[in-house]
Symmetry: C2
Amino acid sequence: MEKELLLMLPGPVPMPERVRYAMMRQAINHRSAEFGAVYADCVRVLKTAFGTKNDLFVISGSGTAGMEAAIAGVGRDKDIACIVNGKFGERLYKISQRYGKAHEIRSDWGTPVNLEELKTQLEAGAQIVTLVHNETSAGIKNPAQEIGKLCRKHDALFIMDGITSIGGDTVEADAWGVDIAITGSQKCFAAPAGLAMVSVSSRAWERMTKNPPYYLDLPAYRKSAGGKPMETPYTPAVPLFLALREACLMIEEEGLPARITRHQKMSGAVQEAAKVWGLSLFPKIDKLHRYSSTVTAIEYPADVRDDEMRALIKKMGIVIAGGQDHLKGKIFRIGTMGSVSAPEILATLAATQHALRKSGFKITGDGVEAASEVLG
Amino acid sequence: MEKELLLMLPGPVPMPERVRYAMMRQAINHRSAEFGAVYADCVRVLKTAFGTKNDLFVISGSGTAGMEAAIAGVGRDKDIACIVNGKFGERLYKISQRYGKAHEIRSDWGTPVNLEELKTQLEAGAQIVTLVHNETSAGIKNPAQEIGKLCRKHDALFIMDGITSIGGDTVEADAWGVDIAITGSQKCFAAPAGLAMVSVSSRAWERMTKNPPYYLDLPAYRKSAGGKPMETPYTPAVPLFLALREACLMIEEEGLPARITRHQKMSGAVQEAAKVWGLSLFPKIDKLHRYSSTVTAIEYPADVRDDEMRALIKKMGIVIAGGQDHLKGKIFRIGTMGSVSAPEILATLAATQHALRKSGFKITGDGVEAASEVLG
């Protein structure tokens, strides 16, 4: 192979050299002041990205492990209202079914959340609400702030999956009333896959339920993080922590507001290209919902085949995502997460434009030029 | 700092350069043929190290996650007989309490397993037996083969934690009747911390119980591993898989029998030094139990203080382990896991001998010379 493919996926995303090279260090003792300092650096920056002053932990596991730690932590035998308008909302619902009485609040993937149904369920006594803030499968950003307000009004706990928003888009967990927020390392942080980060409010601590999985037991994480040195209850994936620390330091250097603006600009360029090509963005948004600024989901025009188009793009060394489950063949998705910048966007849009043409689609305008206008 | 400390712990252990450098690669898609091939390479070598033809999976999480996947997989509401003669046996017992009716079969740490009590419990209907093969906290190797025979006789499932034996000592999971065996990446494999490996027999598949944690759901791992390409159900910690693959290839190159012999030789040198110094090994063994060949636990002589002695050794750039929990201050432990070879052993024993002398202990002979005799 000549070199790595350029991954323009909604995670995993390319990592900066500094982040990757941090992993090649020799093993260090994870019960040492040195490791404690690494963990503390991560937590400091993560709290900024989460918009929280709550306790925050890093779990050695994927984002799904973080989702489960949240639901298992407070959800056993509880009434859980699960908002679903995409694949990851479905996952929160499936996990909730293992612990409590889960009630799905379903909309079609990529369409607005049914807030009326949520109100009905809260009035009927739902104790917990789960939401995916940025639904990667459909490219829609859900109204977390409004949902947080409803949760507070009805004294329900609010669990928010911010796996593809935190670190790349504005998240204000405390101001929005999020009790447990979750993210993952391999998305907007541009760190390697394998770590989940979870913040826990005092309200959530007061309402912890019994018998969570041993490995995902939030009180055990709190106890170990409170020690000197700061530790994890079970052996952490040390190289991933070293990489995450470096990624966090890079976020501090860039500045979170600048990073969020960059994500908006990159996704804005992709959205503009789609419009100029004559294609539709997949999500159906309203005044509360937004197009995601970390992944753009675009509808395929009739007669363009997903496998053929993505193969053409891959021939040019670039990987974009198709649709998942029932959206396979209907949409394609371009990730704009992490350290992504203009060269990757321009290359990806040029390859996509070429592939659209080769697939027989008549573009209505030069999307690459339009994107350059946004980026320049 | 001048350079990394030499970790002579019972995990994490120093990693070979090849293993560490494998992690610095750019992100690759974990739903690709390339990642599938990495996973398959790991599984091929792991099956040899486990001594199994059973299904085998790699979970992104610590060894504890592997223990829990095993117990949660088959143990809900079952009678579980938990053999405990050290800290990790206790952990299996604690995890078992979250899922089933756990019964502790307790001996003092580092003393032989109570096989009579095990027989009694099996006769009384225990459906699952848990054992730590190599009890790191006490330096004792338990009689897995005999326990496996008893499990088969009574048709109980046998869960064996091989976290600090597999890859460094002889394990024959299939021949011994182990239904679920578990290991971790940062021990005898000399890979980074953060991965658990779990093998599952057909008997165990037939007896899976309902509602395991979502993240640790063994049937989900089986389904994804059976796909083309081979996958994990949730995003894997890709850099750790890349490192584990390299570590596995190094085991193939060295050859497992040679690796096991090397572990025996290294621990033999440590045991010999202790004897010549006039110190006692901590475990009380009998004809069924053995001293561990991956970690040697040595009793402190009267008047030698743990914190002082280990501080003296650390001044020479080497970290050895103390005792855990109630053994704190009573024993010290030297790990001989992974890629450890003569130079590290000689340096560690020379530093320990010096520290013993400085602590006021009169050694009865030159343990370093005696160890050299073993190693030369």
